[in-house]
Structures are given as C-alpha cells and as structure tokens.
Symmetry: C2
Subunit: 120 residues, 2 copies
DNA sequence: CGGTATCCATAATGATACTG
DNA sequence: CAGTATCATTATGGATACCG
C-alpha cells in the first residue's frame, strides 16, 4: 500500500473494500452467514479460485473476515465476518442506497438527453 | 464499464469514486468551492496533469462535477460540484468516519499483537 | 476441499514533452 | 492556463494446471 495522498480517510476506507469482488464477498458475509470456500464460489460463479483466495486473505489481514480452519481431511474452512467487520455495514448501506439512486438518476438523464435531441 | 457482478449496487457506487485521486477531488469540491484546474493541482501536488484531466472528465461524465469554460485567453476553466454530486456527501462522510475509526483500530491491533508477542 | 504456482492480458497510473 | 500526445511502468485480474 502506498502513502495515502493528502491523508484522506475516505481513501483508507476505500482501500478496504475495493477489489473487483471484495464488496460482494463482504455483502455475502455481512448478514452473519458462515460460508465455506466453495459455498462462496457458488455464490459468485464468475470469480476465479485465485481471486477468491486473494481477496479473502486481504480481508482477513484487514480484520474484516475471520478464517477458521478445521484440521481434517477433506479440509474444511469457514469464513465469517468479524465483529469489527460488522462496522462496515453502515458504509455499505450508504453506498448501496446511493448506488441504487444513481442508477435511477442515470436513467432519468438518458431520457432527458433523448428528449432534448428531439427538440433540436 | 464492465458488467456489475451480481448487480451489487455497492459496486455501482464504488465505480463513481474509485480512482486514485477521485475521492480527493470530490472532497475538495464537496464543500462548495469553485476551483480552477491549477488550483486543484496545487491542492494535490502529487497528481499529474494527465490524471487530473482524466478524473475530472470522468466525474463530469458521471454528472458529479460541472465544468465551466470561459472562452478567453489565457483560458479559464472552473470546476464545481453538481447538485447531484452533493448527494455523495452522505456516502463520503460515512466512509471518512469509518476510515478514521479503522486507522485507530489498526493501531490498537498492532499494540495488542506486540503485547502478546512479549507474553510468549 | 481448499487451496498454490505460473504465466498472461489488460487496466490504471505515471513521466515527459509539447500546444492553442 | 489548461490542457494533449506518447510512451513506460505497475497493479489488477484471469486462465490454467497442479497439490496435500
């Protein structure tokens, strides 16, 4: 991780959740589900094994996700949100709402643009 | 923009604000300041001209930032937040707060880890 | 089952020089 | 002043094969 330009704390928060699949992983765990590696894969059919591993490791490092290994064969590993990770919910909710609103905003804008085209 | 995996709206929101300098640009404009290109540069000494241009154009495209050109020589261009862009404030605040808390959390964790090292 | 290891493609950012 | 253009570098993600 490089220096945070202008010490902006927003950037700190962003660093936690950016990554193509991170927000989705977080969302899946935020409701309290405890999921095994392959369960997560099934929830995100397009993610590669590699990326799932990488992102999970990062989230673990960041104390957002807890990894519990059962030393048995075949192996069993469970992932869950940490207590601290739950604090992300507020942020995620805010973003979810804004994201939804944004989709609508963009659709509205499209229509407006289409209309003004006609007028010209 | 690629397809949003699992239609997660959080991802939509993230797309608006990710980019190494985007959140900082947004922060500088969110308080209502109207800033010229080089004023923004001075506020972010490490950004390159190229990246500032690219990010500003994207933010304009996204209807977050308004660009006003005064057709004169030497040129004068002013950037400001749009009405719609202001709606980002809630999200940015949430992230800022969480980011700040996260910094503290990580410092705490470091100390704890250091302590348990001693105990062993 | 839950991963690693390699290698590769693309995207994001940076450095530098130039311009109306 | 406010950019473009070009080239180089790095970060991110994907494909595939293999492993304990």
């Amino acid at each position: 991780m490089k220096k945070n330009p202008e010490q902006c704390q927003v950037v700190v928060a962003l660093d936690m959740i950016v990554g193509k699949w991170k927000p989705i992983i977080i969302q899946h765990l935020l409701n309290g589900d405890v999921l095994r590696f392959n369960e997560l894969r099934r929830l995100m059919p397009d993610i590669t094994q590699r990326m799932l591993t990488l992102h999970l490791r990062e989230l673990e490092e960041q104390d957002i996700v807890q990894r519990k290994v059962y030393p048995q064969i075949p192996p069993k590993v469970e992932y869950s949100i940490t207590e601290y990770g739950k604090s992300l919910e507020t942020v995620m909710d805010a973003m979810h709402e804004w994201g939804a609103a944004h989709v609508e905003h963009m659709e509205m804008k499209k229509k407006e643009d289409a209309l003004s085209e006609k007028e010209i």
